[in-house]
Amino acid sequence: MNKELEHSFVELLEKHQNIIHKVCRLYTNNYDAHNDLFQEITIQLWKAYPKFRGDAKFSTWMYRVGLNTAITLYRKSKRSINTQDFEGVEFKIKAEDYDDTEEQQLKVLYKAVHQLNDIEKALVFLYLEDKDYREISETMGISEVNARVKMNRIKTKLRTILNP
């Protein structure tokens, strides 16, 4: 592969790496698994990069490859079992943002989201990233109406998990 392509890719990825981190955050629950998935998404993005055309936004393109890797391509490694859990280990919360009740609520919410299935997580991810239903439907390959219906069902499901 030519050096120029490598350079432009790594530079773009460095800038947009949070998108991958966010995908990993939803689909994994420990540090090793996070890194593993991050690695695989990066490889898949790099493999697909020669076909990336500027007409799509780099970030939009990343959503697709990232989610496809998390949902379909990635094989969970054995390492991810029995390792330390994320909670409070990796993500430090800045002191000024700290709000006890809200923080507690968020913790429970993240836990609830982790209980959703892979497809539901993908929809939640795109929703949290502020994508409209057209983009959600295009990324998942389902109709807009179905994306909307599913999203409502997910909200109900989350509510049930939170208030059993």
């Binding site: 490598e6 790594v10 530079e11 990825l13 460095e14 790496q17 949070n18 981190h21 966010k22 955050r25 991050f38 690695q39 695989e40 990066t42 490889i43 898949q44 993005l45 790099w46 697909a48 076909k51 393109w61 697709r64 490859v65 989610l67 496809n68 890797t69 949902i71 379909t72 391509l73 990635y74 094989r75 990796e90 993500f91 800045k94 809200e102 609520q105 968020l106 919410l109 993240y110 609830a112 989201v113 299935n117 892979d118 497809i119 539901e120 993908a122 939640v124 929703y127 949290l128 502020d130 295009e138 998942m140 390959g141 389902i142 179905n146 219906v149 599913k150 909200k155 989350l158 939170l162």
Partner: protein, 213 residues
């Protein structure tokens, strides 16, 4: 406020919670090898093609195969062999064509469908081989009864003792049992390998399909 909206608020301000990877760290990542399921399906499929080709080459040199040379049955064996190779080439072509269409930039559903299609091609190839195995066995069995002097002598002897039916039935049942065991072991192996590999994909594909109803 909606639960998800609360989450959204936190989600978007959380950008600095993640470890920031440097240019060099990312560069090192792109040099590593993928371990995606597509790669595994590709490797296992190639092994399957290799296995069946190996079996057919291996069988050619065995003692019993050499015995068939005496049957003067080239008219049967050669077409059977040619058909086998043509079909192998056809499946090989299909497999690579399908494999090439797998792209991580397709939408989630199309990607899953393309992977399942590749898998299906190999499945059909295996099914073809199993059917081919059964047909070959029947042909060989028929030829043995018809042309193998040793077998014919045994049949005649059995017939003289009034046990011709028992003799035929014994051989046929033994052959069927052997085939069933061989096919059973192979199917169990495929079921295990692909069952493990594609469990998650199948589950997710079903979930997406469910949305369409």
């Amino acid at each position: 406020m909606d639960e998800l909206d609360l989450l959204k608020k936190d989600w978007n301000k959380g950008d600095n919670k993640f470890p920031k990877l440097s240019y060099n760290e990312i560069y090192k990542m792109i040099l590593k090898k993928s371990s995606s399921i597509v790669k595994w399906i590709f490797i296992i499929s190639l092994l399957e093609f290799a296995l069946w080709t190996f079996i057919s080459f291996f069988l050619k040199d065995t003692e019993s195969m050499k015995r068939f040379d005496q049957y003067d049955a080239d008219a049967v064996f050669i077409p059977l062999m040619i058909i086998g190779y043509i079909i192998l080439a056809y499946f090989f072509y299909l497999f690579f064509k399908n494999y090439k269409t797998i792209s991580a930039t397709d939408n989630a559903k199309v990607l899953m469908e393309n992977i399942l299609k590749t898998r299906k091609t190999v499945k059909q190839y295996v099914a073809f081989n199993l059917i081919y195995l059964v047909i070959s066995t029947i042909v060989v069995l028929f030829l043995e009864f018809d042309r193998d002097q040793q077998v014919i002598d045994q049949v005649n002897q059995a017939a003289a003792n009034g046990e011709a039916f028992k003799f035929y039935a014994g051989i046929i049942i033994a052959t069927i049992l052997l085939l069933v065991v061989a096919i059973g072991v192979l199917l169990l192996f495929y079921w295990l390998v692909y069952g493990i590999l594609l469990k998650r994909l199948n589950r997710n594909y079903k979930e997406l399909k469910k949305l369409e109803v």
